[in-house]
Symmetry: D2
Subunit: 341 residues, 4 copies
């Protein structure tokens, strides 16, 4: 029975900005004062901090949209290196964007008020207000083709899972700022549930049609399902941070369901809304009915542009934990213990 | 050089509703009068009509979101049977929803203002305001498992593409209202670029872990890439109708690019917007810079809920073409000619 | 206590479009089958039909956004003439758009992909994809100035309310398709709670600065508050249809609160969402906490573009009620009875 | 003639967060790296800094939505005191929210997942996830009623403009954190173009109906039009920061048009989009066609929740300018010079 006074516990403390503030000083004000977007963002920071600080939790990051070309490549690579993220699930395109820069290409600050016909004539591709050149794609194509040859030779007669594929690619890249490279070095799996839907698929087609007798890279569409479910299963707790939605969010939630664990923590940053029924905008409450997320989970949806929202979250949590904080995630500790025995 | 009078050619003719109207009578008023959403919807109908009426055009339909459980299952199956759609690209979940009903399950009109914890206890899953029971999933699981056995036995040692997989499933289903069944009967390929990200993937895991020595269904992640690109390539013209966005939209646009054709027609129905950089909300102009859509293509984006928008479009175009209109699509005519020779 | 079977009463009946359909035939399918946007739209039609059919209900229409120039001018005027609307509350701009056409000006079908700098040089103003010329504004300005003189002379020493002002303007206009004219003829009050925020305010400034000794039109900012609250108060039931939101929606809800009635019916068509805290996107449940809408009210929010949604609603309800249906609203019947006595 | 290399000038520099960052340190990274929301937010900070630093510019702030109860009350009052804002245009409700706290009431951190029927029974009103009690409204009502008496006695026979009204109210309030008080003390006008659409209008009704022979507060609906246009007119440059949209944004843009100045700077923070044709979501380019904003103006729209976005902007700009920075705005300097002569 909720009494009237229960509703009236916390008067809003208004935000005060009279001098230089660190990101987390402002975020703490959002927590004390805030409601609406400010309140949700402050809650998201708390939940993300809790996920990272929970020694039993495995942290899944879902990435969709064009956040990598738009400025979050190094950020994500660093999260992997510090193990603020234990598993990545993303679109093929995100890793293609990463690879383009890893092999020497660039993304450029552009504009969305521009003639796309002119860009087409100049062999420049547009991703909202970011530009990328065809020649940078072509450079990647050649290198991917070579990598495919080597991976196929090595794994002759074997079908890889998408996460084995990304580690093999990561192994071939040398750029330390590369997400693929960082994940390979840090033993962080990157799942691409729709790997064919990207330059990786297109190059596979080109490459395999020119192979004559040479072995061809094989990817098994289903092979990563038990792997990701197994990670959920082994980990005492699981949390997810979703940027965007789509297939990456669904893959994590399905793994949580398939493993009968249900997520313990959930942060979703999106501009999608529930009313049209898509998964990307669906509430985390809806996920409770499925058992994808626990009823008592710490969870919040932040309605906003991830390019703004996520760096503020990361800066705030980094400030709280200190720059030297390096997490040893649950599954790795288990492995270390096993090795020691 | 645009002169002042060029801007002022068409005074808005205001919508007039004084009596019973057919859907297309209202839509024609949207065309004459309209601007904003009405104008875009009328344009979308015209473009869809043009796609269907163009004897050289192959029509691709991208499906994402929960439109199938929410009421569009029969509609899509009928579009396939009348060949208003030649190729479907969708999420795994959409076809799982179709299959659930095909094997005797149901979706129920529910509510979004409900306790998800209660639903969880009742083994009822929520998709916004649609309910579906766990037992209907389990019924499907058993049947899928059996189908997998049969398909695996038939295709021993072979890796299927996602479109081969959906035809095999469609062959096993008997419900004439099933999308999978209709597609199988009508020779319409259904591509599932992220097939693992659905009950199809989960059942594969369960199934293959219990197989002992029996053959296991194999799906090749990349095998459908040349198939869909080949369809674009052979077809003199290509058009797409997108419901939602995500991987299905990207897959079609990539096929148009890979085949160096570029789309001639494009209709996108979505609530996503371009500003956050995701593919789902990106403009069709942006696709021009990539060569995914032709600069002079007929294209429009309708910002709206597909459950409202798409049936209005289909009703309007059906009215225009007459109920007996049955399209023989380009690629089928080609096949018929070849057979005759 | 809700039992499991209570959740599973109504299997979704899928939409079927095999032949020409009237608008309401499709809408009835939305009702039977539907959920998501289709379900909400069908519910909105039912509620609007109920409002109109309820002999005790006064129907308030809130208008904001550019729906009048974009094609809904005649539609709204006709709703007034058939008394499907008893009270209008709108932005000043909406009635300026109406008046521009009433004095011979036009709105033109334009485009949103255009150089606004070019338009500026051509003295063409843009409202998304609608154009309107400066000369049409100037023509209105001259006529308004004259009307202001006459109204001021007639109401010397008196301050008008916004609804008295709109009737005076309506009296001066002769165009039968004009909303202002229709409202004047039909005795339907039009409230402009932010009347100054429009050409009406600008012309008042110009006009009053040139008046020398002549009387100046006076508008009392507060005078319409008791009038609109009084209408709510006298009417046994009240319903609102909101297009957009903003000040017009708030004004109606506040009148329902001030009169201690609370609305009995509510339909809101908007693209705004609740998360950012604005009134326009706030749920109708939120309005229950204030007493602006009754807890047991029939209410629904349709997330969509009003230029698409509202004409479909009006066509559907018109079809149901028949083209000769003419409503005699509660307050008018009261007046007729009083006159008879 | 744009050459290919012109498009490819600025490679994206990726965001790097390895240690504690001040808000502006992160914002500077957004500027260097960024695109999408990060890029727009960084641009918005630059434009706001430029507005404040431009000795010839008058800064208009438009406020709509529930940002005051949700935590931005002190922030806005401080902006007024530091003269980072010279003119405020807002909804009546925003100033009612301010006044409620000024007379001792509170807003409370609440929730949006709550029974509104329960809240209604407890006389608690909900504004998304903020609560406010009826008794705090009643307390304000009594005090407003008294203020109205005093203002009416003082201005007998005179009709006030909305900005004169807000100064009179501000004079009666003693809370230094009050926006109304700060504006009164700092000589900053607050315009309420829809003043009737708020508790100010409701109390006026109650109050005037109980006045017997006592003078009644009179507000002239049109009187503030020449005042705000006059401010634009006298100021060499004008800039606006819009939170939300609606009538407040339109009022500023119309003043810029009426004064034939056109805005030199524009920042809009909103979740509204242009496609449905409303003013709130309309682009600043569209405003160029009207002459409301100059073609060469510095302008940007940030798509986001103002409760998150605006504090980050203010913190960033405060850090840049230093905490002791106090602006003497153009019009005040003019006044000081005149007084000195």
């Amino acid at each position: 029975m909720i009494e009237r006074k229960d509703y009236l516990q916390d008067p809003v403390v208004h935000i005060k900005i009279s001098k230089k503030l660190t990101v987390d000083q402002l975020m703490q004000q959002f927590k004390n004062s805030g409601s609406l977007g400010a309140g949700r963002l402050a809650t998201a920071c708390d939940i993300y901090e809790n996920m990272i600080s929970d020694p039993e939790c495995t942290v899944f990051l879902a990435l969709s949209g064009a956040v990598i070309p738009a400025g979050m490549r190094t950020l994500v690579a660093d999260l992997i290196r510090k193990r603020f993220v234990d598993v990545v699930v993303c679109t093929g395109a995100s890793m293609v964007h990463d690879a383009i820069e890893a092999v020497g290409g660039h993304h450029y600050k552009g504009s969305c008020v521009v003639s796309d016909h002119e860009l087409y004539k100049h062999h420049i591709f547009r991703i909202y207000d970011v530009f990328v050149t065809e020649e940078d794609y072509v450079r990647l194509d050649y290198q991917l083709s070579e990598m495919y040859d080597n991976i196929a030779a090595k794994h002759k007669g074997e079908s890889l899972s998408s996460n084995e594929f990304t580690w093999e690619i990561g192994k071939c890249l040398k750029d330390p700022n590369s997400i693929l490279r960082a994940a390979y070095e840090e033993n962080v799996p990157i799942f691409l549930p729709a790997v064919r839907d990207s330059e990786f698929g297109f190059i596979h087609w080109l490459h395999s049609s020119q192979q004559n007798k040479k072995p061809i890279l094989q990817l098994d569409a289903f092979k990563d399902v038990p792997t990701i479910s197994g990670i959920c299963s082994k980990s005492p707790k699981n949390g997810m941070v979703v940027i965007g939605g789509g297939v990456p969010r669904n893959t994590i939630q399905s793994a949580a369901l398939a493993s009968k664990k249900g997520l313990d923590y959930g942060v979703v940053i999106t501009m999608d809304r529930p009313e049209i029924g898509g998964l990307s905008g669906s509430t985390l409450e809806e996920a409770v009915s499925w058992g994808k997320i626990k009823g008592q989970a710490n969870q919040v949806m932040v309605i906003g542009d991830a390019l703004m929202v996520f760096p503020f979250m990361v800066a705030s949590v980094t400030e709280r934990l200190g720059e030297d904080f390096r997490r040893v995630p649950f599954l790795e500790r288990e492995r270390l213990l096993e090795q020691r025995c």
